[in-house]
Subunit: 356 residues, 2 copies
């Protein structure tokens, strides 16, 4: 696969966002969000999503010059109107506020309505972690998950992210869709020409399927846990919890009212609901970082079933990939993806991506 320098990817993202009206600061912020995903190996949420944001800016579904606004505030909380700004604009505004509140009174819990897709949820939780706080981030999304027993979609991948600081720069990072997998993993199975494991997806009849193409076309993801007998209702319950944290508290669209999945920019703003929280460990027992590090290292040192596959702490995989990417200084993208970016570059008048 062609290789591109990290700074060139970032340059292209920033140029593209500026070309459709984003101020420099917001183009930089949003590019940073997307770069995070490509750096830690979640390629679905990086450059892969850029055109989606560009289209939303062009259709005015997203207003890249908009500034979020606090509508209501108390000691530990804020309700924010994102005014359909870029996801990174809303995310930075809300998480900065949650961090400030957590430092002042122990917890900050900030919810935004009228937001756009905010990339990897873990990126936001990590903003708080870098300040020595526990960070949490949640978002609703387009309807793609089928609740247990249902034939129809009603909830999103509705992710849960949590990051917590441990001693010596170590950290716990939880960043997970409440579906068993995201659609990107089904696409990977199509490319590999392999069937899906049971518990990933349903066909249009609401019955489990292992046919990757049929699953992709049906677009019906199963909740984490899979079928009812393997407790799929728990993944559904987690998604429901995220829904009420997001649309419930913020007054945004509920997932069942959100426009369909991606690249569908002409249906107006998605009006997503998002929730950002920070908790200050200093307000509790001294030594949080040491206890967190002890847990992480205990888990890593558990005896593995297969010595070639050591036990990881949640977030380790992304951390290792992130370090390797930064050391290499480049990312590899499929030729087809770079061609699509070249077409987009011409369309919006920016310099195409230069491969190494």
């Amino acid at each position: 696969m062609p290789e591109v320098k990290l700074e060139e990817v970032r340059r292209f993202m920033e140029d593209s966002l500026k070309a459709v009206g984003a101020p420099e600061s917001e183009a930089k912020a949003h590019a940073d969000l997307l770069m995070h995903a490509d750096t830690v190996g979640h390629y679905s949420h990086g450059l892969n999503r850029l055109e989606f944001y560009i289209n939303d800016c062009q259709s005015k579904a997203c207003v890249p010059t908009a500034k979020p606004e606090i509508l209501k505030e108390s000691g530990a909380t804020a309700w924010v109107d994102g005014h359909n700004a870029l996801g990174a604009t809303v995310g930075n505004f809300c998480m900065d506020l949650a961090i400030k509140k957590a430092k002042e009174c122990g917890v900050g819990w900030v919810c935004a309505r009228r937001s756009n897709h905010f990339g990897m949820a873990g990126y936001w939780a990590l903003q708080a972690e870098r300040e020595g706080l526990i960070g949490l981030a949640f978002t609703n999304s387009s309807p793609i998950m089928v609740p247990t027993r249902s034939k129809q979609r009603a909830l999103g991948t509705n992710p849960i992210a949590m990051a917590a600081p441990a001693t010596d720069g170590d950290k716990l990072v939880v960043d997970m869709a409440t579906t068993t997998v995201a659609m990107g993993k089904i696409e990977v199975q199509i490319h590999k020409e392999e069937p899906l494991p049971a518990g990933w997806a349903l066909g249009p009849d609401g019955k489990p399927t292992t046919d990757a193409k049929a699953a992709f076309q049906a677009g019906r993801l199963m909740p984490l846990g899979g079928e009812e007998k393997t407790s799929g209702y728990k993944g559904y319950a987690l998604s429901a919890m995220v829904e009420l944290f997001c649309s419930g508290l913020s007054g945004s669209n509920s997932t069942h009212n959100i426009r369909g999945w991606e690249l569908d920019s002409n249906q107006g703003p998605p009006d997503l609901g998002q929730c950002f929280a920070a908790i200050n460990p200093e307000c509790f027992a001294p030594g949080f970082g040491d206890r967190a590090a002890d847990c992480l290292n205990t888990w890593r040192n558990l005896e593995p079933v297969d010595p070639a596959l050591p036990v990881l702490a949640p977030g380790d995989k992304e951390h290792h990939i992130g370090e390797a990417t930064l050391a290499k200084g480049t990312v590899n993208y499929p030729q087809r993806q770079l061609e699509a970016m070249e077409t987009m570059a011409k369309r919006i008048g920016v310099k195409p991506i230069q491969v190494v």
Copy 2:
């Protein structure tokens, strides 16, 4: 199965707890916690657990006269020492405090060290829900879950509970172990002489097993999601999150240092960590209850795959069983369980349970 009046079960629980030193108020509180489980059909966490608490009081692992104490406090937070009091004593102290703080500054986040088992986590989240707040409750527990790729246990069932109020008394209730199932469900399969579904449990070699008896003896539960290919690492990540909310913030034992599973009262206090939170929807967009009700009803009205199995909102099953139990006024217990209670009654000198 023999039938017992609800008030008789409650009488027996209170008498038993008082017989081992619990003051009347705490015996009532703890009985209420256990009655909730038997009322909503989670029999594993009701009368079934009474002897475990009685033994812990007798061995002094639990101190039923102890009073929790606030060690540190900020606007939205409190750090509490449970002083090894009964789970209900610590739970009521902490959740009352979280509710008060949520009413004052939007969020209350309270963590306790040196607590004991606090029954169904959902019971605590519902205390906040009854006050018009979103309630959250988490606890760590004895090591029984095997992290992805590991052969060894290191985390507990570490449950997540969340309850949120909706219009007209409706509510969302999430109350789930972060393992695929709890041990009680494996016991049920043994009694039914049926194999386990894949994704529930591992054998002593760390490999998946469907043999219910072998699984029960091995005591190695899989995280929600099951194997790695069906995203079991997400259940592991959720359990890790709960661990840092509980032992991380409170300074209690981490799960990997907690004594083994149940009825093992002679190893001293378990020193569990627990976390209770309340969030005030009034601090965010008006109309939370209506939006929550709209979500709940939308999910319930989704077209089901099997018309005989309607789609439920999370918590509906327990709600329906609870209403039926209260209407009937009785609970049925297995003969063997009542015989065990009769033996215990003689041992601690209380009037045995009278069946109808």
